[in-house]
Each structure stands twice: as structure tokens, then as C-alpha cells.
């Protein structure tokens, strides 16, 4: 499923709203999550999961082509942990 398919499904469920409004809604939802992480915050959505930011220390990397050592700077990366309900729903037997 891609974003436009998600929007189409939401639009079909909400005939009283315009497609344009639904597009904005989806943009605000995922945009706010990104903004929160960019401020060093977390996103916690019960049943779905939690997004947080993890820091990675600087390390010595290598140029895979030449094998030369290259310093890799410390960085911050987004991290997602699935929620309990989502994990359970993926594993019903």
C-alpha cells in the first residue's frame, strides 16, 4: 500500500469529506510525527507502536570499493518499535 492508496481508502470511507482534505490530514499526521522526532521527541501510538530517535556513535568505516578507512560521524537515526497489539495481530495462528 502506498500513500495515495491509503488516501483513496480514507476518502471512500468519508464521502462527506473532500479528497483534498484527506490528503492534508494524512500529510499532517505523518508530518507531525517527523517534526516530533526532529525535535528529539518520541511518538507513542498505543496498539501501533512507538517512534524514537537513537544516537549512533562515530566509527571507523571503510570505502567498500577501495578498502580505505573513512571516518563515519556520530548520527541520530529514527527507530520504530512495534506495539504489542500489532505484534500480536501479525502472529495469530
Amino acid at each position: 500500500m502506498i500513500k495515495s492508496e491509503l488516501i483513496a481508502k480514507l476518502a471512500a470511507e468519508n464521502p462527506h469529506l473532500t479528497q483534498r482534505d484527506i490528503e492534508r490530514v494524512v500529510g499532517v499526521i505523518f508530518g507531525r510525527m517527523t517534526d516530533s522526532l526532529a525535535k528529539g521527541g518520541r511518538v507513542e501510538l498505543r496498539g501501533f507502536g512507538a517512534f524514537s530517535v537513537r544516537s549512533r556513535p562515530s566509527r571507523a568505516g571503510r570505502n567498500p570499493r577501495t578498502g580505505e578507512p573513512v571516518p563515519v560521524k556520530a548520527k541520530h537515526v529514527p527507530f520504530f518499535k512495534s506495539g504489542k497489539e500489532l505484534r500480536e495481530r501479525l502472529n495469530v495462528d
Binding site: 502506498i2 500513500k3 480514507l10 490530514v25 522526532l37 521527541g41 518520541r42 507513542e44 529514527p78
Partner: protein, 99 residues
């Protein structure tokens, strides 16, 4: 820094920015998350451009250990979610936080 965004914050943001009723906003936030979950349940990949990709991966059975007692314990095969943030999200998180 360090604030936690919840469903309620998302509903409020949608209400303020798009101007729909709070009831519509709450329903849309809920259905958005639910549609992502049900696509993943079906084994589909969910690709949200600018945000990232959620994927379902199958893990095979392996022997693990109870971390508390140290006893060996069988881990059943299971499905897990992997999330890969988009380049856009990675860049905005890293440039804001690493100097």
C-alpha cells in the same frame, strides 16, 4: 526537547490545520493507523513517501534464552515489522540533532 506525541496531539493538529471537526479528526487518525496495520497483517509493504516504509519479515524458529534465568527457551517462528525511515526523515532528524 524530549516531548512525546500521542494520538490526542495528532487529532488536535489535524483539527487545527485542516479545520475538520474533532470527531472527524479522531476518526481519521484512528482509521489511518488501522489501515496501515491491516495492510501489514495481509503481508503487504506500506510505503509512505517522505516518511518511510513498513515491511513484514518472517523470522525463523531459533533457540533463545530466558534472560532472567539463563535457561534455554525455544523461540517460535514469527512475523515482525521492520521500519525504514525515508531519506527525507533521516535527514531532518539527523540535521536537527547532530551538530
Amino acid at each position: 526537547m524530549g516531548e512525546t506525541l500521542t494520538r490526542a496531539d495528532l487529532c488536535e493538529a489535524v483539527h487545527e490545520e485542516v479545520g475538520l471537526s474533532r470527531q472527524d479528526c479522531a476518526g481519521l487518525v484512528e482509521r489511518t493507523l488501522e489501515l496501515v496495520i491491516s495492510a501489514l497483517e495481509d503481508g503487504q509493504q506500506v510505503k509512505l513517501s517522505g516518511f518511510g516504509v513498513f515491511q513484514v519479515r518472517a523470522k525463523r524458529a531459533r533457540m533463545g534464552r530466558n534472560p532472567k534465568t539463563g535457561e534455554p527457551a525455544a523461540i517460535e517462528p514469527r512475523r515482525v515489522i521492520s521500519f525504514r525511515a525515508s531519506q527525507v526523515m533521516k535527514a531532518s532528524v539527523d540535521s536537527a540533532l547532530s551538530k
